[in-house]
């Protein structure tokens, strides 16, 4: 079969994307459509004293008080120390971050709506601003949410006894690490278009989202509608990455306005809104103490992790998902003796934290991988050897790690070994020495991680969330023309799910993917799914479509057998037909018999028909684990602090590979984002909480000239717990680059007495680290004289 599981097929969706015929929210043409613009808070923390609308335009401008019947976004959790925030879609009483929506203006064009927004006068009384976890946690700190005792959304604690580890350790590594706040910068920003459909008696909402069925629930709840009165349709979505896996305040206000004004209303996010009001992810601080013996073997790890989560919890995942993931994933693929970790989700005057590709793992992988290298330097061993000593070996699989993660299959040391081979680690010392003769500074670094994917019901429930995923539903149907329709409530956002679930159906039904039509994203047309996040799409939607296709294939063979006058178990489904020996009947003929000429079939044959919906989840809820090792060789220009990536390899295992072409793309894209995290991207605030990086001239994304030619290798360790052994892979490549690149940079800097422990490792940070080392050694020299 040329387009089934494992086939390197071109993506179905690419023709319309490349020809400019795709349809994003911004492309929709609709009669009577008006555009919206928001008045957004210019201050990071303030009480709203008054909002004055320009005379004559009061009916085009709405505040929260005007939007009667619209409730707040209130993400709940049952965890003991959780503090709930109410995020009113338009600010009520207080604003808590620069860019928070205060009022909505509508007009025939976006430009006119922006003119209106400028004319609205908001009187604000400034309050003390928290731009860091330190000030937010200081005693008597001004509170973001007056009804709380402090500025903490949540604390968690994981508590093994470290007494033995402390006693036995001959090496103690203490480090503080920090990761910067980022924006996710999907190519297409958020966008929503809504109108009231009089015939269907429904609010119809086109929205750029990863989770249409979740948005339907959220919109219905906040607008006080029955779910049957809401239909959500995700059209083409130009990248999600997590930014679009939560309920958006703009979806609610656009929805309210469409219903009450009786005309379609649209809002699309512009880049400036994204870089200010959407600066909502990745910002962590770590304090780590690692205990090891003389060989570099880890005995224990003690950690404090602070996440700067901004002002409000997102729905449904809450502000606390990041810290929960951080604490749970810091050990990564390593076998730790004992582990103690306290996390703090701190409220600050910034946009509310949203999970971004990799969630907390890019941060914890960075912290852990730098710590491993620090241990290696302390014991005088090759960092690769120290990794081999500490990575969970293949022989111990399946392995329950110290935080209870159940690693299903794989060989982590083998991935590290293969990555080392690919980057030719054995000859690196010589290449480094040769380059040094020319005054060039080369470094090598490694980074390993596990990616928990398609974790399900019990895991989300343990986080106390109000909305947890259950069985994913998928529908597969043989159409009257002999082609196949697949419908999934999951959503394709550029990650290729439209193609890969077609490949799963293709595999069972022996039909080319060009004859398989995939519909996703429309709550009116697809069965329920919580959507595309946590690398669950291929396992969950693919699994559901697989089950449904398997059953449909059985039914097709029953019909085919009748038409071929034999028994079903004497038949074979291949090449788009049912065969018995040399005789065959095509899927088209079978479909025509069923739909057009049922008189040719017995009355009681397959009464349930040619349309199958199945529910699926993996046989364990704890997820299936992809893993990889990244390795990088860099050159650091110590005069300018610039880092050039000379070579970058990824050795990854994601179980059964459905489409190697798409998987390569996932690796390239994820690694590019990880390089952004490692070297370029940073949201900078001034002390008043003003975001200073509000255009792409200041918020630096890596471009094609900054990226290396990635080299990819893989193995396949199928999971016994998922259909076809598939594991999720969407997030992985974004996780490891910071570890690999900064370890490589520190390989250059450490002989100079310098070390990077904060990302992004910009020229600024690298030069300052070098200066600090020079100053320290100058002081030492003076003292010695």
């Amino acid at each position: 079969m040329t387009t089934g599981i494992g086939a390197r097929v071109l993506r179905k969706e690419d023709a319309r994307h490349l020809n400019g015929t795709a349809q994003f929210v911004g492309d929709i043409k609709m009669s009577h459509l008006w555009e919206a613009a928001y008045v957004r808070s210019p201050l990071a923390h303030a009480r709203i004293k008054s909002i004055t609308k320009p005379a004559g335009f009061e009916d085009r401008i709405f505040t929260m008080n005007d939007m009667v019947g619209l409730g707040p976004i209130a993400a709940q959790s049952t965890l003991a120390t959780y503090n709930q925030s109410n995020h009113w879609p338009l600010a009520k009483d207080k604003v808590r971050f620069v860019g928070e929506c205060i009022a909505m203006c509508v007009a025939p064009t976006r430009a006119e709506a922006e003119d209106l927004a400028e004319a609205v006068i908001v009187d604000l009384e400034p309050l003390p601003v928290h731009v860091s976890v330190e000030t937010a946690l200081a005693p008597k700190a001004a509170k973001l949410h007056d009804e709380w005792d402090n500025n903490l959304f949540l604390t968690t604690a994981f508590d093994n006894d470290l007494t033995e580890a402390r006693k036995k350790a001959t090496v103690v590594i203490e480090r503080e690490y920090s990761t910067a706040r980022q924006c996710m910068v999907p190519m297409e920003g958020k966008g929503t278009l809504a109108y009231w459909d009089g015939k269907a008696e429904q609010l119809v909402m086109y929205t750029s989202t990863q989770v249409p069925h979740l948005i339907r629930t959220g919109v219905a709840e906040c607008l006080g509608l029955d779910q049957g009165e809401v239909r959500v349709i995700a059209p083409d979505v130009g990248g999600g990455f997590g930014y679009k896996c939560v309920l958006q305040p703009e979806e609610l206000t656009v929805g309210w306005a469409a219903k009450h004004l009786g005309r379609p209303i649209r809002w699309t996010e512009d880049r400036r809104e994204h870089l200010t009001a959407g600066a909502n992810t990745r910002e962590h601080k770590y304090k780590i103490t690692a205990y090891a013996d003389d060989t570099g073997r880890l005995l224990g790890l003690d950690a404090d992790i602070w996440v700067d989560v901004g002002a409000y919890s997102v729905w449904p995942f809450t502000a606390c998902l990041e810290a929960a993931q951080a604490g749970g994933n810091l050990p990564g693929p390593y076998d730790l003796g004992a582990y103690a970790c306290r996390t703090y989700s701190v409220a600050t005057n910034k946009p509310g934290f949203t999970p971004y590709r990799g969630v907390a793992r890019p941060g914890v992988c960075f912290a852990m991988e730098l710590t491993i290298d620090a241990i290696a330097r302390a014991v005088g061993r090759d960092p690769l050897d120290v990794r081999r000593l500490n990575l969970v070996p293949g022989s111990k699989m399946p392995y329950t790690n110290v935080t209870g993660k159940f690693y299903d299959t794989g060989d982590y040391p083998e991935a590290a070994r293969r990555a080392a081979d690919m980057i030719d680690a054995k000859t690196f010392a010589k290449r480094k020495a040769d380059a040094a003769k020319e005054g060039r500074h080369l470094g090598i670094g490694f980074s390993s991680f596990t990616e928990q994917s398609a974790h399900g019901t019990k895991v989300f429930a343990a986080w106390g969330l109000a909305l947890v995923p259950g069985y994913e539903q998928g529908m597969v149907k043989l159409a009257p023309t002999g082609s196949v329709e697949v419908k999934s409530g999951n959503q394709t956002t550029g990650q290729g799910l439209e193609t890969t679930i077609a490949q799963v159906a293709s595999d069972w039904l022996s039909l080319d993917t060009s004859l398989i039509k995939v519909t996703m994203g429309d709550t009116g047309m697809t069965p329920y799914s919580t959507g595309a996040y946590a690398s669950r799409g291929m396992v969950m939607a693919g699994g559901a479509v697989s089950k449904a296709s398997e059953e449909l294939a059985r039914r097709i063979r029953v019909l085919g057998a009748y038409l071929l006058q034999c028994k079903p178990d004497e038949t074979e489904l291949r090449d788009g037909a049912v065969f018995k020996g040399a005789a065959s009947v095509t899927l088209k003929q079978i479909a025509q018999a069923w739909y057009l000429r049922p008189d040719l079939l017995p009355d009681d044959i397959e009464t349930t028909g040619m349309e199958v919906t199945e529910g699926y989840k993996p046989s364990i809820d704890t997820g299936v684990f992809t893993y990889a090792t990244h390795a990088a060789v860099v050159e650091v220009d110590i005069e300018t602090g610039k880092v050039d990536i000379l070579d970058y390899v990824i050795f990854e295992d994601c179980g059964t590979r459905v489409n190697p072409l798409i998987l390569d793309g996932q690796s390239y894209g994820g690694a590019a984002q990880g390089i952004g995290t490692a070297l370029f991207e940073e949201v900078i605030y001034d002390s008043a909480g003003q975001p200073l990086t509000s255009t792409l001239a200041d918020y630096i994304l890596p471009g094609p000239a900054e990226l290396p030619s990635f080299r990819l290798g893989h193995s396949e360790s199928p999971s016994p717990y998922s259909r076809h052994g598939i594991k999720g892979v969407g997030e992985g490549a974004a996780i490891a680059p910071s570890g690999a690149l900064v370890n490589a940079i520190n390989d250059v800097l450490s002989p100079l007495g310098a070390e990077i422990t904060s990302i992004p490792a910009t020229p600024h940070r690298i030069l300052n680290a070098i200066f600090a080392a020079r100053d320290a050694s100058a002081v030492a020299r003076e003292a010695a004289e």
């Binding site: 922006e114 003119d115 602090g641 020229p763 300052n768």
Partner: protein, 274 residues
């Protein structure tokens, strides 16, 4: 990010441009690559935008006697690609090639860049280093010349008076035989420079100039150092460069001085290999 409402005109003669610019709140648009984003961000709010793209004389590149004249509307891309029949000084094509991205270079203009006067712009430093003169036309049609060195008074501030436009940039054709070095440090290909170093020495013309660019102010000239290099053919030490920078830019951070020092040293290194 949508602009405030404005009218747009594209006059066909310089006299009509003068008329169009006579109002209180009109702005010239050359290639639109700087003013476009500023309009969208509402950093400028003109009531009228006057395109000067339709004026043929502003696109002309020609040699008159010993002077090369490049029209203000000549794009970076045209300079990068070379002009048929005219030997552009190699430094011009080298600098043009690294301005922003090709898409920007297709529209962005030499005159527009100089009038906008972003301290980190390449032409601001390069034309200062080459000793160019700007040909400026007043609102009443009179032409005057002003040397590029000194034309920029500070960040985004120039010697242009109300209603004046740059019509051409002139340099001696002899600059095509000068010794030159240009080094730019940026965080990412295509971005604005964090540091620029430029050196031009023409012994026959007794011309020596070192320019330090992207200082967040008008370009800095290190005349003494330039003359010393021209006389002795030896490069200054990194410490000497650092001292000169510290003296002229006392407020610069240590990182900024390091980058400026490196750009200047590397530019000098292209003329005087160590």
């Amino acid at each position: 990010m949508k602009p405030v409402p404005f009218t747009h005109e594209s006059p066909k003669t310089l006299q009509l441009v003068d008329k169009a610019l006579a109002g209180d709140n009109s702005k010239v648009m050359a290639g639109g690559q700087s003013i476009g984003p500023m309009l969208n961000l509402r950093l400028v709010r003109p009531t009228s935008i006057v395109s000067i793209d339709d004026l043929d004389e502003l696109h002309s590149v020609h040699i008159k006697g010993s002077i090369l004249s490049i029209g203000a509307m000549v794009t970076h891309a045209r300079i990068e690609d070379g002009i048929e029949g005219i030997d552009l000084p190699p430094m011009l094509r080298y600098v043009a090639r690294s301005i922003a991205y090709r898409a920007v270079r297709n529209k962005g203009t030499l005159g527009g860049s100089l009038a906008h006067a972003d301290p980190a712009a390449d032409w601001v430093s390069a034309m200062t280093a080459l000793g160019a003169d700007l040909v400026i036309r007043s609102a009443r049609g009179k032409l005057r010349r002003e040397p590029m060195a000194g034309f920029m008074r500070g960040a985004y501030r120039t010697g242009l008076q109300k209603g004046e436009i740059i019509v051409a940039v002139e340099l001696p054709t002899a600059m095509g035989q000068a010794f030159w070095g240009y080094d730019k440090i940026c965080r990412k290909v295509g971005e604005f420079a964090d540091a620029i170093g430029a050196i031009v020495i023409h012994p026959d013309l007794k011309y020596a100039r070192i320019v330090v660019g992207a200082t967040e102010d008008a370009p800095l000239l290190l005349d003494d150092m330039a003359r010393s290099i021209a006389r002795t053919a030896t490069a200054p030490s990194l410490d000497e460069i650092d001292s000169a920078l510290a003296a002229h830019l006392p407020g610069a951070s240590r990182v900024k001085r390091q980058l400026l020092k490196t750009a200047v040293a590397r530019a000098i290194g292209k003329v005087i290999p160590s």
